[in-house]
Symmetry: C2
Subunit: 348 residues, 2 copies
C-alpha cells in the first residue's frame, strides 16, 4: 500500500518517492493537521510532502477540510496496521533543542530585539527569510561556546538575519564585517551601526563577484545562510573559505529539509569533504528558526488548497552546520557572474 | 610565539600542530588545571594536547605541580596579549547539550540503572569503555524522536553500553538484535534478558566476519560505537549498512576528538559521502558521555606526570552521528578477517 502511494506520488520524470517517506508523512499526519507543521515533522521537502498528501487524498486515505488535514478511518487503519506512530519531537524545553544555554545572553537578546524592530521585510527577490531574534542570539552563543567569537574576526556573508548587529552589540568579536547584496539591509545595518556606535564594516556585494582582495584570508570565522541550491551553497561556502585566515578556522551555515532533499544534502557533503576539503564538526537539528514571511503562499503550489493555508506557527527550520578548515582546504576566489542565484533572475 | 610552540610540539615524522591548536590549549588551560578536562575543552586528541602542554612547560609558559597544570605569569601574559580567553562550554543544563527532553524517560532510566548494576567492567582487550546510563537512555530518546525506534527493528553492533537492555525495557522497538564479541557481555545480556523476559536476540560475533545472511537487510536502524581507527569505523559502519532494509533507514555511531584528529574526521566523512554514499543528518556534540575506565593510565603516556593523573570527572565524550541511507548506498558484506581492530592483536 505504501509502495503504491509512493509510486503514485513520484514524479515520472523526477525524483522517486520511497515508501518509507510516505510512512513518515503518515506519522506526521498523526501528529498534526496543518500542512506546514507536517512538512516540519516529516523532515522532507515541501514539494515531496505535498505530492504524498495529494496521493493520500486521491486514494481516500486522507481528507482536507478548509485546509485542515486528517487521515480517514481507512488511513488510520492502514497506519495502525503498519505500526506507524505519531512523529513527535521531544526537544529539550530549556534550549528548544539547540543544546546551548542562552541565559547569559538574555540582556543581549532584549537589546537586539529593541534595535531591530523596524528591520526590512523579507523579500522574494533575494530569497530572503530571516530567523527569530532568539536564533540570531543563539548563533552568537554557539560561536562563543566553540571559541569562534570572542576576540575573533568575523565575516557574515548575507545578513538579513542581522547577526552583525547582535555580534557588535555583544562586544565579543574583534572585528565584524558584513557582505550583503540588498541595499535596504546595508542601509539599515549602517544606520543602526552609526546611531549606536557599533563597529560594523558593511560592504554591498553580490557574492558572484569574487571577494575583495582586502577581505581574503583575514577572518577567523564566517557565517552564511545561502539560498538552497547546490551552486548557491557552494558559491557562498567558497567565499566564506576564501575569507578565512587558514587552517583551524570555522564556518557556519544553515541547511533545511524543507528545501533540500537528502540527496542534495549528500551532494553538499560530497562537496565539503571531497572538493573543499573541510570537515563538518556539528550538525544541529532545527537550530535556526525562521519567522514566517509574507510571500510564502505566492511562491508555492496554488493547485492544492491544503498548501494555500497560512502557517499558524513558525514551521521553517534549518540545521546548523559548523565546519572547520584543515591544512589543505580549497581557497579559490574567482568571479562567477553567470551563476543564477535568486528567483526569476535573467542573466543572459 | 604560538608558532614556535606549535613547531616544537609537532612530531617531525608525523602530524604538524597548528598555532591555533596551541591557542586552543591555552584557552582550555585558562579554564581548567586538569589534563583530562583540558583535553575535553580543547577538542583535540589526547596525544596532541599532551605534546602541546609538554612544549609549554619546556619553554616556561606552563607548570605542573602534583599533576595540576597552570600557566606561569609569562604564559598568562602571552595569552592576554593574544586575546586568548578561557574556553567555557555553555551547554544547556536541562539536557547537558544533547537537545533532547529526557523527562519522559525517567522511569526507564531508573529501571535500567537497577538492572545493569553488576555489568562487566570495561576491558582493554576489546577497546571497551561504556557510556553513562543517562547516555544510553538519551540514545533511545534520540532514536525515538527521529522515528527510528518505535515499532522498528533495531540492531546493535557491539554493546558494552547495554543499549539493547534499555531498548527492550522501553518496549518500543519491534525487534532488538545484538552482535557482540565479548562473551562476558553476551552472557550478561542473555542472562538479564532471560530473567526479565526481555526479547533480545544475542549473537556472539567478531565483526570482521561478514554479517550472517539471516541478518542482512532486516533492520530499520543500527547503532554502533566502533574502535576509533579508520578501518574499524569503516568496518562497523559497513556491517551496519548491510543490516539495513534499504533506503531511508538510519544508523548511529559515536566519534571523538580525544582519539580521532579532525583529519581523521574528514577521512570518515569522505568515506561516508564518497564511498558508502550515506548522508549525515546530525552530529551532536558531546552526546555520549563515557564512564571513566580502569585501564586509562596504563594505556597512555607514562613519561608525563601531568598525564598520569586519574580524571576527577568524566572527560571522554563523543559526538553522535546519525546517518541516513539513500537510493544507492554501499551494501557490501564480505569477510575481513585480517583487519587489526583491537589493542595488541596479533593476526599473523
Amino acid at each position: 500500500m505504501l509502495a503504491q502511494i509512493a509510486e503514485k506520488a513520484s514524479d515520472p520524470a523526477g525524483r522517486k518517492i520511497h515508501p518509507r517517506e510516505v510512512e513518515r508523512v503518515f506519522g506526521a499526519l498523526l501528529a498534526s493537521s496543518e500542512f506546514w507543521r507536517v512538512v516540519a515533522l516529516s523532515r522532507l521537502p515541501v514539494e515531496t510532502v505535498a505530492e504524498i498528501i495529494k496521493a493520500l487524498i486521491d486514494v481516500g486515505l486522507a481528507v482536507q477540510e478548509n485546509g485542515a488535514l486528517r487521515l480517514t478511518p481507512g488511513g488510520n487503519a492502514r497506519a495502525r496496521a503498519r505500526g506507524i506512530v505519531p512523529l513527535i519531537e521531544r526537544t529539550c524545553p530549556g534550549c528548544t533543542g539547540r543544546g546551548i544555554d542562552l541565559r547569559p545572553y538574555a540582556e543581549l537578546l532584549d537589546q537586539f530585539k529593541e534595535l531591530v524592530q523596524n528591520r526590512p521585510n523579507a523579500i522574494l527577490e533575494y530569497d530572503q527569510g530571516y530567523v527569530t531574534p532568539e536564533t540570531t542570539v543563539a548563533r552568537l552563543a554557539l560561536l562563543a561556546a566553540k571559541g569562534d567569537l570572542q576576540d575573533k574576526e568575523l565575516i557574515i556573508l548575507g545578513d538579513d538575519d542581522l547577526v552583525s548587529i547582535a555580534a557588535a552589540l555583544s562586544g565579543l568579536p574583534r572585528r565584524v564585517v558584513v557582505l550583503e547584496i540588498d541595499p535596504r539591509l546595508t542601509d539599515f545595518i549602517q544606520t543602526l551601526a552609526g546611531t549606536h556606535h557599533l563597529a560594523i564594516e558593511v560592504y554591498r556585494q553580490d557574492l558572484r563577484r569574487r571577494l575583495p582582495a582586502e577581505l581574503c584570508r583575514q577572518f577567523d570565522t564566517f557565517l552564511t545562510d545561502p539560498p538552497e541550491t547546490i551552486p548557491a551553497l557552494e558559491l557562498f561556502l567558497t567565499r566564506g573559505l576564501a575569507a578565512l585566515k587558514g587552517p583551524c578556522c570555522a564556518g557556519y551555515f544553515g541547511l533545511t529539509y524543507a528545501e533540500s532533499s537528502l540527496a542534495e544534502w549528500l551532494t553538499i557533503q560530497q562537496i565539503l569533504a571531497g572538493k573543499l576539503k573541510v570537515v563538518v564538526t556539528d550538525i544541529i537539528h532545527n537550530f535556526n528558526e525562521y519567522v514566517n514571511w509574507d510571500y510564502l503562499l505566492e511562491s508555492v503550489r496554488k493547485d492544492l488548497s491544503f498548501v494555500q493555508v497560512s502557517p499558524r506557527a513558525n514551521w521553517y527550520f534549518s540545521s546548523m552546520y559548523r565546519i572547520e578548515t584543515l591544512a589543505d582546504y580549497d581557497q579559490e576566489n574567482r568571479d562567477r557572474e553567470n551563476l543564477a542565484l535568486y528567483p526569476g533572475e535573467n542573466l543572459s
